[in-house]
Amino acid sequence: MAKEIERSGLPITIMCNLTNIAKTVGSNRIVPTFSVPYPLGNPQASPEEEWAMRKHRVEVAVEALQTPIEEQTVFAVKK
């Protein structure tokens, strides 16, 4: 799906847990998420920590859209 959106010319960041699959399928801008059932949540963490994690990763995704890349790239996030 991400690939077809990009094929139409729109830059797209895919946020997902299985970054290897995204790469294999052919996504170009990839940001890792925290888990499968709550990609941007963490019930084990405090609400503050959870919020900081979510906001940080979304910010990386936004940044990725402004980053020129030459090849498929998995953008680094803080733990």
Binding site: M1, A2, K3, E4, I5, E6, R7, S8, G9, L10, P11, I12, T13, I14, M15, C16, N17, L18, N20, I21, A22, T24, V25, G26, N28, T33, F34, S35, V36, P37, Y38, P39, L40, G41, P43, W51, R54, K55, R57, V58, E59, A61, V62, L65, Q66, T67, P68, I69, E70, E71, Q72
Partner: protein, 352 residues
């Protein structure tokens, strides 16, 4: 009699469903589940132990999961390692591929798994192991396990193995010299075969190349946005977040539909007005707070901080479990056209 160990996920290992997908690896000293089918077919090899690990545990903590699985196998005597079948289950296919690859590297035994052609695990791992061409859902379990058992039996019995297409697994990109008579075929010289192919091609007839060139369908990288604050950004998710009543009746699995939902004026996705209908993961957290899947709250915070400009008034949603690559591609094209018609110039997609 040779020994095999079978790897299963939490569901086929009879531990539980999505709520048990974080189940940590164990090795049971007995055949479990579809091991029975295998043991009913194979004459030279028997499954005596079963390893079980939750798909989410493997996906989210891959290095730790692999390390712990390998540790459980240390000192165990086994000749063949079997995983799955994984059908078209993406996370399970990933798990089977990861564990088979690691087991082969560490213990140097033959490793066999089975996946549907649509499973992304095929593309990721087919060069590293035998992946049999499996069905797309669990109803194919008997057939898929039988194919793996018959092949494992051949290996255990020291029988001659045939090329990938004849055995029924995905070609691994390994080339061997073979004599056609050994495959029970009429020997024909290479130059004659080449000319036959050329003649067939000129006549517009079907022919099968002996040297397939693998193709990977990559899309050109779309140029980066110059200033994200000056354009409109669109949000898409395959995590199945929809309004409570699921107005477009998007399917919970094998989706063929997508929807778009108004978020104008919302500073987050409220629960229970929004929820997930995705049947491929435990919905507890997403139903409690849909922003863990479609992070509208974080998007709004970044807008307030001036790090992001306009965001489209609609987000787009579908379900990405069991969905074929063909359907996903069609929906992707439709969503792309809709996004463009709304003036969106860049997209953030979250998936589960």
């Amino acid at each position: 009699m040779k020994k095999a160990i079978l790897y299963l996920n939490q569901f086929f290992g009879q531990i539980g469903g999505e709520d048990k997908a974080d189940f940590e690896p164990v090795l049971e000293d007995k055949p479990i589940g579809s091991a029975g089918i295998f043991n009913g077919i194979a004459k030279n090899v028997k499954i005596e132990q079963t390893m079980i690990c939750g798909d989410n545990f493997m996906a989210s903590h891959t290095d730790e999961a692999i390390e712990r699985c390998l540790k459980l196998l240390e000192g165990k005597k086994f000749d063949i390692f079997i995983a799955g079948p994984a059908f078209n289950a993406g996370r399970y296919g990933n798990a089977c591929g990861q564990i088979c690859k690691a087991v082969h590297e560490k213990f140097n035994v033959p490793v066999i798994t089975s996946m549907n052609v649509e499973n992304p695990g095929v593309e990721m791992f087919k060069r590293d192991m035998y992946i049999f061409k499996g069905g797309n859902r669990a109803t194919a379990i008997k057939q898929d396990m039988t194919a793996m058992a018959a092949f494992a039996d051949k290996i255990a019995g020291g029988e001659k193995l045939l090329p990938a297409d004849m055995e029924g697994y995905f070609p691994r990109g390994i080339r061997h010299e073979v004599f056609l008579e050994d495959l029970g075929m009429e020997p024909v010289m290479a130059c004659d075969r080449a000319v036959d192919m050329l003649l067939a091609k000129l006549k517009g007839e079907e022919y099968v190349t002996e040297l397939p060139i693998p193709k990977q369908d990559l899309v050109p990288i779309a140029p980066a946005v110059k200033d994200i604050r000056k354009i409109k950004v669109g949000l898409v998710t395959s995590g199945g977040i929809v309004p409570r009543e699921n107005p477009d009746r998007i399917e919970s699995a094998s989706a063929t539909k997508w929807g778009k939902y108004n978020i104008a004026g919302l500073d987050k996705l409220p629960a229970p007005e929004f929820k997930t209908i995705h049947a491929g993961y435990d919905p507890e957290q997403a139903d409690k707070n849909p922003n863990v899947v479609e992070p509208l709250d974080a998007i709004r915070a970044l807008q307030k901080e001036g790090k992001l400009g306009e965001v489209d008034d609609f987000f787009y949603a579908t379900v990405g479990t069991g969905t074929t690559q063909g359907e996903a591609a069609r929906m992707g094209r439709e969503i792309a056209a809709d996004l463009r018609s709304r003036g969106v110039e860049a997209v953030i997609l979250t998936s589960t």
